[in-house]
């Protein structure tokens, strides 16, 4: 009887010990997805209220701080380049031969008409630094068992005060994320599909973004090719590269 009581007492403790904390989950996501550098070609299918547009681009990225994107299609966008260095963003337009720094309210504008904003693309938020993370439950998403991690902002400066992330319990990759305003209003939803093993990491080949305040059926971001940890010449991440 005494032994049974000890077992019954220990069961919840064992189960409790198996559930990682929010912080541990975020660290594992980071470990799975972060890389020194990425080179990718991708396309965005923007399902607007009237029509669907496809935008093709090639991107070079160095950590979270530096990225360079060149738009390849359609003809109107071809040659447009975007450079992100830390929290600064420049756009080069071949039509006007101007390099423009995007700042202030423009960062909140839609990126190429998609459901993403420039701010979303910059995504300089350090989740572990700017949010308190806690596991609030688990749920099945796309037939995968997921932790639901809720992130509450520590400061008012971040764009989304509450985030909910559904994280695959085995592969430690987010399968769904919802971004909320302070009022609790759902602003954006992101769903990740085609989770593929690339090298030693799991990576989504397709992400669907939906701006909940916008008409249309969202934006599909499809990665056609991606390479990790390749050497990228430093000159790519300079303003001079925009005009080349």
């Amino acid at each position: 009887m005494k032994r049974l009581a000890i077992i019954l007492f220990l069961i919840p403790t064992i189960i409790w010990a198996q559930e990682p904390t929010g912080k541990e989950i975020l660290e594992k996501i980071d470990k799975n997805m972060a890389s020194k550098s990425t080179i990718s070609t991708s396309k965005m299918l923007i399902h607007g209220a009237r029509q669907t547009r496809t935008i093709e681009a090639k991107s070079w990225g160095m950590g979270d701080e530096k990225s360079f994107t060149e738009y390849l299609a359609p003809a109107r966008e071809k040659g447009t380049k975007m450079l992100k260095l830390e929290d600064k963003l420049w756009i080069y337009s071949p039509g006007s031969d101007r390099t423009i720094q995007i700042s202030g309210h423009m960062l909140k504008q839609s990126l190429m008409g998609s459901d993403l904003s420039y701010e979303d693309m910059m995504d300089n938020v350090k989740l572990l630094e700017d949010y308190d993370a806690g596991v609030i439950g688990s749920e099945i998403v796309n037939e995968r068992d997921c932790w639901i991690v809720e992130l509450q902002a520590k400061t008012a400066e971040v764009n989304y005060q509450i985030r909910k992330v559904w994280v695959d319990k085995v592969r430690y990759i987010p399968l769904k994320e919802e971004l909320y305003a302070k009022s609790g209003k759902l602003l954006k939803r992101m769903e990740l599909f085609d989770i593929t093993k690339i090298g030693n990491r799991w990576y989504p080949k397709k992400i669907v973004f939906k701006d909940m305040l916008k008409k249309g059926d969202g934006t599909e971001f499809i990665i056609d090719e991606i390479e990790f940890d390749k050497e990228i010449p430093e000159y790519i991440f300079t303003k001079a590269a925009l005009r080349k």
Binding site: G48, Q51, R76, R98, T99, M112, G113, K215
Partner: protein
């Protein structure tokens, strides 16, 4: 009886001339004031119509629902065909394309890097077509401060204050960063043709006027526009005409089940203007009512004085045996006749003045030249249907009421005292 009283009016001018002159003057003022106020406030409405609302406005249903956000992604397509159909359906009206847009305006330094940048609120109108009346319609010639009007699609006007902020002068280049109607990034260079002063704080802070073809090109809106404004052929907004156009258009072109089908709203139903219409109606009503009341007191007094001045006459008539009721009634009939004649003459003169002011107008351009306001430079009266009868309210009723009140004294006079009164 009427003929008798009318002869009395003509033959006994001492008795009737002054009351008629006072009634005529009062009614003239009432009619003129009504037309003048209606005209000035109507001019303000007309100005707003020319600038933003049109007498009627066509948008897609989806655009109309979110028009405060200026959703150019929901703009009207194939507008050239639509406008040519409209010109056939409503040949006396004029239809023009407009695009409202927002974004960033960026001025470059000598290396092409951003020197200054600011949020811009712009309006695109047809500035350069040969037959376009838009420059005069929105009165930008008067508001020009530096440079000249645009002559090419890539030339724009920006507010003087905004130009100072961006450190650009006419002839300089600015880059408009905005979205195409499909949401893509649009970065387009424009030349500053001139600077203007809007007189509206928000527009002076960040306003821009561009030619519609330049903006259509920049925003990938070829043969597309956000709004089509329609103007009736009458100089002032006519709600009944506009309502007819609205109903026939919506019956023919609008489909409630298609959010991209065009829908027409008339000026009075415009969300901003409907409040102003109510305000104008109340404002005109209050001013005219106060004035009518004031005039009524004056004319009532005229009636009273008229009655008192004839104290002796009434005494003699009573002394020779005329019935009190008969005297009282005849005085009231006389007052009515004076009221009708005075009101008629006053309305005629008031309408005459108003007609002159409606046609010629008062040019306040010189007085307002330092105000830098984008507002009508000529104020005009406007003759409306109520102007034909509004003067009769103080003119007829007040004189009659005044006479009725003063006439009550007839019944208080005692026959035994009449001769004593007459002797004195």
């Amino acid at each position: 009886m009427i003929r008798f009283l009318f002869k009395g009016l003509l033959r006994d001018r001492n008795r009737s001339l002054l009351p008629i002159l006072v009634v005529t003057a009062g009614v003239t003022l009432t009619v003129f004031l009504h037309c003048y106020i209606t005209g000035i406030l109507g001019d303000m409405i007309e100005f707003s119509a020319k600038y933003t609302s049109g007498h009627v406005k066509i948008m897609t249903r989806a655009y109309a629902e979110n028009k405060n956000q200026v959703p150019n992604d929901l703009a009207l397509l194939e507008v050239n065909d639509l406008i040519s159909n409209l010109q056939k359906d409503y040949p006396t009206m004029e239809f023009v394309q407009r695009i409202n847009f927002g974004g960033l305006l960026d001025s470059p330094d000598e290396n092409g890097e951003t020197k200054k940048q600011g949020i811009v609120a712009g309006i695109a109108v047809d500035l350069i077509s040969e037959n376009s009346k838009e420059i005069d319609r929105i009165n930008i010639r008067k508001s020009l401060r530096k440079g000249r009007l645009p002559e090419e699609p890539n030339e724009v006007l920006i507010s003087d204050e905004f130009a100072d902020k961006l450190e650009v002068e006419p002839g300089g280049t600015v880059t408009l960063i905005t979205s195409t109607m499909y949401g893509g990034m649009s970065i387009q260079n424009f030349t500053i043709a001139g600077t203007i002063e809007f007189g509206v704080q928000m527009m002076d802070r960040s306003g821009m006027i561009a030619d519609i073809s330049g903006i259509q090109n920049a925003m990938d809106m070829n043969n597309v526009c956000g709004e089509i404004l329609g103007f009736l052929d009458s100089p002032n907004y006519d709600d009944i005409k506009a309502m007819n156009v609205e109903n026939t258009f919506n019956d023919k072109y609008s489909d409630p089940n298609d959010e991209f089908s065009p829908v027409m709203t008339r000026l009075k139903n415009d969300s901003i203007m409907s409040g102003y219409f109510d305000y104008v109606d109340s404002f005109v009503g209050i001013i005219v009512t106060v004035f009518i009341l004031a005039m009524s007191i004056v004319l009532w007094n005229t009636g009273l004085i008229g009655g008192l001045r004839r104290y002796g006459e009434v005494g003699v008539r009573l002394a020779i045996g005329e019935e009190k009721g008969h005297i009282y009634r005849s005085m009231i009939y006389e007052a009515i006749l004076i009221g009708i004649v005075g009101s008629f003459l006053g309305t005629l003169v008031g309408l005459g003045f108003s007609y002159w002011l409606q046609e010629a107008g008062i040019n306040v351009g010189d007085i307002m030249k330092n105000s830098k306001m984008m507002m009508p430079s000529v104020f005009r009266a406007h003759i409306t249907t109520p102007a034909y009868y509004i003067g009769f309210i103080p003119g007829l009723f007040s004189v009659t009421l005044g006479t009725m009140l003063s006439g009550i004294g007839i019944y208080k006079r005692k026959t035994a005292q009449l001769f004593k009164e007459l002797e004195t």
